[in-house]
Symmetry: C2
Subunit: 257 residues, 2 copies
């Protein structure tokens, strides 16, 4: 039987340790093609590049598989990979491993997860992986068996149409990982602040900073799972409609007369 074709991307850039580990993990499972941003694209959300042209460069790696660096966003990478790089639809798209959490509301800002969502829009079974450690020298090895196991599950079972997985991994030694927990996105938000500074020319500028605020304590959420040393798996969909609110809005009057 032929090996599965696995497309890999991320948002930290093609040279980030997180994607380098993910490539190694996936080469043990299938044939790998990498199309990833040429520079960090964290916080890009579901951005696409429309006003400037995109560049795609084939880059040399030692492992014999094909890798490309792209000047655009993670979503651009997926679109270019599917339309211009790959000869057939991949069996799996994996994005990451992100340096830092994409649990709870962070999913909406995450380039890693937007690439996975774009994959699911292209009907490719897709997974975004994130490790709860922002550092360059974060230890990705404890996650190896779990990342491979989750990828194999998706290859074996597929995913329902329009669904991808948001997988977050606690930054603990492998022996301390309690297992995998399927959960939902915790209710929370980023309580942002701005560091207000003055540049050498005397003009003011702002750096975005912020603190995550959790709004609930349910054990059904990804934040609970991660705090309790489980790997969290949240199924993600891209219908933003709040279906339960439609009846209420239908009681409003929109008469302009």
């Amino acid at each position: 039987m032929s090996k599965p074709l696995i497309l890999i991307t991320n948002d930290d850039g093609v040279m980030a340790p997180g994607i380098r580990h993910l490539v190694k993990f996936m080469l043990e499972i299938g044939d790998v093609v990498v199309v990833a941003p040429d520079k960090p694209q964290s916080g890009m959300g579901h951005a696409v590049t429309m006003t400037v042209p995109l560049r795609l460069e084939k880059i040399t790696v030692n492992s014999g598989h094909d890798e490309y660096s792209c000047s655009g966003t993670p979503v651009d990478c997926v679109k270019l990979a599917v339309n211009k790089v790959l000869k057939r639809k991949p069996d799996l798209l994996v994005s990451g491993i992100n340096h830092g959490s994409n649990a709870s509301i962070s999913v909406i800002y995450s380039g890693t997860m937007s690439a996975a969502i774009e994959g699911s829009m292209e009907t490719i079974p897709s997974i975004g992986f994130s490790l709860l450690d922002y550092r360059f020298d974060a230890d990705f090895m404890p996650s190896k068996k779990y990342v491979q196991r989750i990828a194999k599950n998706v290859l074996e079972h597929g995913l329902p149409k329009g669904i991808c997985l948001n997988v977050n991994i606690p930054a603990v030694p492998e022996k301390d990982i309690k297992g995998v927990k399927v959960c939902r996105q915790a209710r929370g938000n980023w309580n942002e602040d701005f560091d207000h500074r003055t540049d050498p020319m005397g003009k003011e500028y702002f750096w975005l900073t912020g603190e995550f605020m959790l709004h609930e304590n349910s054990d059904e959420t990804d934040v609970w799972a991660l705090e309790n040393k489980y790997i969290s798996v949240v199924p993600i969909q891209f219908d933003f409609t709040a279906h339960n609110v439609i009846p209420e809005l239908n009681t409003w009057s929109f008469d302009t007369k």
Copy 2:
């Protein structure tokens, strides 16, 4: 009674005709503060600026209210407005009027709608408005009464927690608008293509192009409403969890032994 405080932003840039019209429409309803990008930010999705500092400039307008241009994304504008510009939480956030549709799956790529979603995350009743005409000289006047009516509805009724509205307006004369229809996001996707070119230095580059593909014909969707000359109103939420998929994932084995 004091007038409501209305925060206005967009993704086409602070000088775009769409936001200029929205400012005029809102000045008839409340006190207005504008914080909008200093350049076009279409397709930015829910991007935030993290690797470069943000600039915020007070700009002079004739109408006597405060306006600021910001170097960041639409989401950055909302965060800066709430944290650094406004003295109190606004009673309403309106984003747009976008030049071009944000119906169906376009909501996920839209900077206009991401600003409204960010507003709802900040617990501000928020609305994104889009006109189905990409042109600079699009006619926004037929939408005036409806934009004002919808804004007044939200000021009067509020919106459930975590919900904002995605309002799209057909590009037809006012007399042809059939009314307002509350609906859901149509299932569809962008079937993208890339225009593959060679630059004057002989290097290849790509422009993103694409065609919208509608996957259903239900009269409950925003696309149906717009094709039938209704203004579409879709309630939007930011829980991406596919709750109905959780039981199925719980049948998978994640055993790594």
